[in-house]
């Protein structure tokens, strides 16, 4: 791999994405973290600076192709082509299927899955030319075990797995690896929203007996992004404290 890695992390303003941005930064990559709003992007810039990481926040709505093109152009002009893409941006619109609206389904599939297609395609050409690249998709244990109230989210995350395996086969010969990291129950704003009794129930199922920390996901992503992981592709690494054994 060339000396300077350029890592693009979507949804980097908080939680797992913020931890991934820090971890890859500590590993020496220049970090571009994205958030949907300009204020979110500014917060990322400040956060990276505070963590002693070389990088910047940029505003990006991953459902908007024009924005993706514009951001990638800016990155390549200022920092060079993206060599590590972490598709982390995601949302939830939880409700039982009986009550799920088209909008709930579309919003989650569009933000969580179609964005992976768009982003991966957008960074691919320079990676193919460079004969190197890392694409790491943050899926979820829910995509593998299912979860009542999350048919949309689980479908999007399971879709990511199939996408990852297929893309890995397409681009493996060009030195590009494509993998998933599937977090279990991690202590973030997203899981903080869950009702207490659901949390208690989930905890019972976690062998390690506690919630995971965002840094524990980030460490796995950093490994997959490193030269040491060059022979791992099309794979999902589960980081869930034994909540689900794939």
């Amino acid at each position: 791999m060339s000396d300077q890695q350029v890592a693009l992390v979507t949804g980097a303003s908080r939680g797992i994405g913020a931890a991934i941005a820090r971890a890859l930064g500590k590993q020496g990559a220049v970090i571009i973290g994205t958030a949907t709003s300009a204020s979110g992007a500014e917060a990322i810039t400040a956060h990276l600076k505070a963590a002693g990481v070389n990088g910047v926040g940029m505003a990006l709505d991953v459902t908007q192709s024009e924005q993706i093109d514009a951001v990638l152009k800016q990155i390549s002009e200022q920092y060079g082509d993206v060599t590590i893409l972490v598709n982390n941006a995601g949302i939830t619109k939880d409700t039982l299927l009986m009550r799920m609206k088209d909008e709930d389904w579309d919003a989650v599939l569009n933000t969580n899955l179609k964005s992976v297609f768009r982003m991966s395609q957008a960074v691919l050409r320079p990676m193919m030319k460079a004969r190197q690249g890392r694409i790491i998709n943050i899926s979820s244990v829910v995509g593998h075990m299912g979860n009542a109230g999350q048919t949309n989210y689980a479908a999007a995350k399971a879709g990511m797995t199939g996408f990852t395996k297929s893309m890995a086969q397409e681009v493996g010969s060009r030195g590009i690896t494509v993998n998933c990291v599937a977090p279990g129950f991690i202590d973030t704003d997203m899981t903080a929203e869950l009702p207490e009794e659901i949390k208690a129930k989930m905890l019972e199922r976690i062998a390690v007996g506690r919630l995971g920390q965002a840094e524990e996901i980030a460490a796995t992503v950093a490994f997959l992004a490193s030269p040491a992981a060059a022979y791992i592709t099309g794979e999902t690494i589960h980081v869930n404290g034994g909540m689900y054994c794939a």
């Binding site: 050409r125 193919m128 397409e170 681009v171 010969s173 060009r174």
Partner: protein
């Protein structure tokens, strides 16, 4: 050799890692130059970049030899 022919052959050499001597007008990308499906897609993308044009998928499928690439560029570029 025309300018376009030269540019096409240069791209074919670069993309497929072929020797200049092996890249003849009649050469088939897959059969003679050992390209796989991804190579041919990359090749078309490289041609698009070089000649600043967009080659539709149904046209791209028909470009299987060096001469066909040269013909396409000649016919579609002014």
């Amino acid at each position: 050799m025309s300018d376009i022919e030269q540019r096409v052959k240069k791209i074919v050499c670069e993309q497929l890692g072929a020797n200049e001597a092996d890249v003849k007008n009649t050469s088939s990308f897959v059969d003679d130059l050992g390209a796989d499906s991804l190579d041919t897609v990359e090749l078309v993308m490289a041609l698009e970049e070089e000649f600043d044009c967009e080659i539709p998928d149904e046209e791209a499928e028909k470009i299987t030899t060096v001469q066909q690439a040269i013909d396409y560029v000649n016919a579609n570029l002014k």
